[in-house]
């Protein structure tokens, strides 16, 4: 039986990198006595796969990982037990059963993610018009650094939605293993266009709101693909 866990990461936990978050949850599973399955072999490890790792410095309301269970545990009970052993800044939001097929898990199903870019200092604001002008372009060319080279790519098709929400900027962008657009890259292109002096890395912090998969043409949060275990 497979389960999907949704969690929030906030406060000082944003300084904990992805590999350490994995280690953290492995230990949390044991503390909460969740009946998790192990791989076979001489040094067994927990069957656990994370979707769309979050970078250091970012907070999130919608992080996910999937596990394999050896026995049943009710959703409510699992959420309660996990939250009893969480550090401040980590909160388990849901625990649902997901289909058994292999391709239902992990990074492969991620299609999009929502982010907020929050200005650290609100004096110099990006306006609604700035965003409209930005989105009205057919092409937004940015230099994307890969491990081997730099290449110019058009990110416009990957920005699905973008708008002002108070002082912050909301965006829904493509995410996952085929196309993964980082919110910092979008902001840096936007600031360049507006001629702002602000720096996308230094003057904004980023918060992920949700990760989405596609279901019948619509984007749905990852845990909407699962069902509550009672």
């Amino acid at each position: 039986m497979k389960a999907r866990i949704k969690f929030r990461k906030y406060g000082v936990m944003k300084f904990i990198g992805h590999l350490d978050v994995m280690r953290y949850f492995q230990k949390a599973m044991r503390r909460a006595e969740i009946p998790i399955a192990f791989t076979q072999g001489f040094s067994p490890h927990m069957i656990m796969s994370f979707a769309n790792p979050l970078g250091v410095g970012l907070t999130s309301d919608g992080e996910y990982f999937d596990i394999e269970l050896t026995g049943p545990v009710a959703s409510k009970e699992a959420v309660r037990r996990l939250n009893e052993v969480m550090a401040e800044g980590m909160e388990v939001v849901s625990f649902v059963q997901i289909p058994e097929e292999k391709k239902a898990t992990g990074m492969a199903i991620i299609e999009a993610a929502d982010y907020l870019a929050l200005p650290k200092d609100e004096t110099e604001e990006v306006t609604k018009e700035d965003i409209q002008n930005f989105l009205s372009q057919e092409e937004i060319l940015v230099v994307k650094q890969t491990k081997k080279s730099e290449k110019e790519v058009n990110i416009r098709p990957w920005i699905l939605e973008m708008e002002k929400q108070g002082a912050s900027i909301f965006m829904k962008v493509c995410a996952g293993s085929s196309t993964n657009l980082k919110p910092e890259l979008v902001m840096s292109a936007l600031l360049k266009q507006t001629g702002s002096n602000l720096d996308a890395e230094a003057d904004y912090r980023y918060h992920r709101l949700e990760n989405y998969a596609r279901k019948n043409e619509a984007l749905v949060p990852l845990d909407a693909l699962g069902t509550e275990i009672v």
Binding site: G11, V12, M13, F15, I16, G17, D20, R23, Y24, Q26, K27, A28, M29, R30, R31, E33, F38, F42, S43, P44, H45, M46, V56, G57, V85, A87, E88, G89, A202, R205
Partner: protein, 621 residues
């Protein structure tokens, strides 16, 4: 939500920000307005090292059991953050509250090795606490040191207000109560130090004066305050099973050196190796009760979620119920995906059997610590391990499927001859020969014998405390003799030799047996920029040599001199239980190559019996 001492900008540009944010599972948060005593407990090295240390965990847990005390952790900031803190004048802070250390009542520093001494000055300096005890005011925390290096606290005497000599579980409550009492009646810092000086095991360095002979050796060491005791008695817990143990240790977010549950099974060692300080200063050997340990194993795995458990002690094979304990751990936890990490065990059929159960034989290696290559030298150091035992153990292991062996040796032992050095690679070769005695079709390729040497450093309270050291060049020469001889061996292609650097050895030797005058070298080295000296990438020998030059302290006085049997040592005012006359007897026996039996074979009247328990009274109740 807590406010961090460091800004997001800083935390995102330094290595491993998780070292500095606290908030770990099982870290203890209290309301600072509701406690009387705030204790900052420091391990003067980087987080991953300090957070792995059992002694820190024991004291943290013990202090926090007191409702009136909040103990928090402090580690050395790594060099990247160190630079930023100096530039931006950010004071050293404790992990839990993130409050500046200078606001605390106590700064406790555990002193585990000599090469962390400059980091002690770093922590004081970054905290804004005057480096010298004499310059501190009523506003400064009481700076207290403890741990194995505190058995010769003299190189650090000027920098500490107090030293706690021995195991923390005995008189800390008394000390904290005295502090509270003094605070309540608005007593001064000096009044508290005088109260502390009367507590057994507590040493207040400023209440003593040292005088020296013309040749530089110590002439006298006398109290200058009526509250100060002439001798400081090392503190020892007699009922190890009855004292509190940290069953809810902090679980770090980042991978630390000891990322596992640690069960302490015993303290002390019955063996009496003559080079080994731990084997002397933790006497008498005391064991923890098996049922208590089983209970701790359950609780600690549940409270931490760790996937590995290990045992901690000196010479674990001597723990009388080891078989029962290890069998229990394997049967109870192996099936639950918990790794059992075994300590180095004497190689026999039992240890090979359990190792086969918990390790992948193809990947793991077996470790022997003969410490010396020749039987003559093993007798000198009283290492009760014969060549026959080593070769038998290796044979058994090879038959069991292992093909990797690690051997540990020391070079520069007292009276070492070239022949003794050459016996090191020869012994490694003889181990390899055992492997190739197995018929070819039954063995698993080549064997790999890795042997390493470290340089021997004489330590206080050991029979070798009188021994002379050698120059750096001489040490390197010794390593070359070993390396040359290795190349002559039949199975040289199966041997691999590693040796340690010699410059750190010499320095460690100075501070291990240093007196108060060596403190100024430390301070000068720190001022010249020395820090993290136990990290080979950070260590800068030139700066250290400059520090000796600048202060006019003669390095060789501390290392090259063979001490006279009647010399008064800087650490002689401490009574560790083991008597100086016993150590002298052992030193003389060593020179004659005479072996002394271990505590369970026959009592050698070392003096530790004065503690009225442990192995000294086994089977006598």
């Amino acid at each position: 939500m807590r406010k961090l001492a460091l800004s997001d900008e800083i935390l995102l540009k330094i290595e491993k920000p998780a070292r500095y944010i606290g908030n770990e599972i099982n870290s203890v948060m209290k309301d600072k307005s509701q406690v009387d005593i705030r204790f900052a407990m420091c391990f003067p090295d980087v987080y991953e090292i300090g957070e792995s240390h059992l002694g820190m965990k024991i004291l943290y847990d013990m202090f926090n059991r007191r409702d009136d005390t909040w103990c928090e952790r402090v580690y050395s900031p790594w060099t990247d953050l160190d630079r930023i803190m100096r530039e931006e004048h950010i004071p050293m802070f404790a992990l839990e509250s993130q409050d500046p250390v200078r606001e605390f009542d106590f700064l406790g520093i555990t002193i585990q090795y000599e090469m962390c001494y400059t980091n002690i000055l770093q922590v004081l300096d970054l905290s804004g606490i005057p480096l010298f005890s004499k310059d501190r005011t009523e506003e400064d925390p009481i700076v207290i040191g403890g741990g194995p290096c505190a058995v010769n606290p003299e190189p650090l005497a000027d920098f500490f207000d107090l030293f706690y000599i021995g195991e923390g579980e005995t008189v800390y409550d008394e000390l904290l109560d005295a502090y509270k009492e003094n605070k309540k009646k608005n007593g001064t810092r000096k009044e508290f130090l005088e109260m502390a000086a009367e507590i057994e095991g507590i040493y207040v360095p400023q209440f003593y004066d040292a005088e020296y002979h013309e040749d530089g050796t110590l002439k006298s060491f006398e109290p200058n305050n009526p509250h100060a005791k002439r001798t400081i008695k090392k503190q020892v817990v007699m009922d190890l099973s009855a004292v509190p143990y940290p069953t809810k240790p902090v679980v770090p977010f980042i991978k630390v050196t000891q990322d596992r549950v640690v069960l302490e099974i015993q303290r002390g060692c019955i063996r009496g190796c003559r080079f080994c300080q731990a084997g002397m200063i933790y006497r008498p050997t005391r064991e923890k009760d098996l049922e208590t340990l089983k209970q701790y194993a359950y609780e600690m795995l549940k409270n931490t979620g760790h996937e590995e458990i290990s045992l901690s002690s000196l010479s674990s094979s001597d723990y009388s119920q080891l078989k029962e304990l290890v069998t229990f751990l394997i049967e109870e936890f192996k099936g639950k995906g918990i790794n059992i990490s075994l300590p180095s065990l004497r190689i026999d059929s039992f240890s090979l059997d359990v190792m086969g159960k918990v390790q992948d034989i193809k990947k793991s290696s077996l470790t022997f610590a003969p410490e010396a290559g020749s039987q003559r030298m093993r007798n000198v150091i009283n290492k009760g391990l014969t060549e026959e035992m080593i070769l038998d153990g290796a044979s058994k292991a090879f038959e069991g499927g292992w093909n990797k062996v690690k051997l540990y040796f020391m070079l520069g032992l007292p009276g070492e001859t070239e022949e003794d050095m050459k016996e090191i690679p020869r012994l490694a070769d003889r181990v390899a020969r055992k492997y190739y005695e197995i018929p070819k079709d039954q063995r698993n390729g080549k064997c790999q014998i890795t042997f390493s040497t470290s340089f021997f450093i004489p330590k206080p309270f050991t029979p070798f405390q009188w021994a002379e050291m050698f120059t750096q060049e001489d040490y390197i020469h010794r390593a070359h003799v070993v390396n040359q001889e290795m190349k002559e061996q039949l199975n040289r292609k199966s041997l691999k030799y590693n040796w340690h650097e010699a410059d750190v050895t010499v320095l460690e030797g100075v501070f291990a047996r240093g007196d108060r005058r060596t403190g100024k070298v430390l301070l000068e080295a720190y001022r010249l920029g020395c820090l993290y000296d136990s990290w080979s990438d950070e260590f800068d020998n030139e700066k250290w040599m400059q520090a000796f030059d600048n202060t006019g302290v003669d390095l060789e006085f501390y290392t090259m001199r063979k001490r006279d049997l009647d010399e008064l040592f800087p650490w002689d005012f401490i009574d560790v239980g083991v008597s100086k006359s016993f150590l002298k007897r052992e030193w003389e026996r060593a020179m004659k190559g005479e072996v002394t039996p271990n505590c369970r074979e026959r009592c050698s009247a070392c003096g530790a019996m004065c503690y009225q328990g442990g192995v000294c009274f086994e089977g006598k109740n």
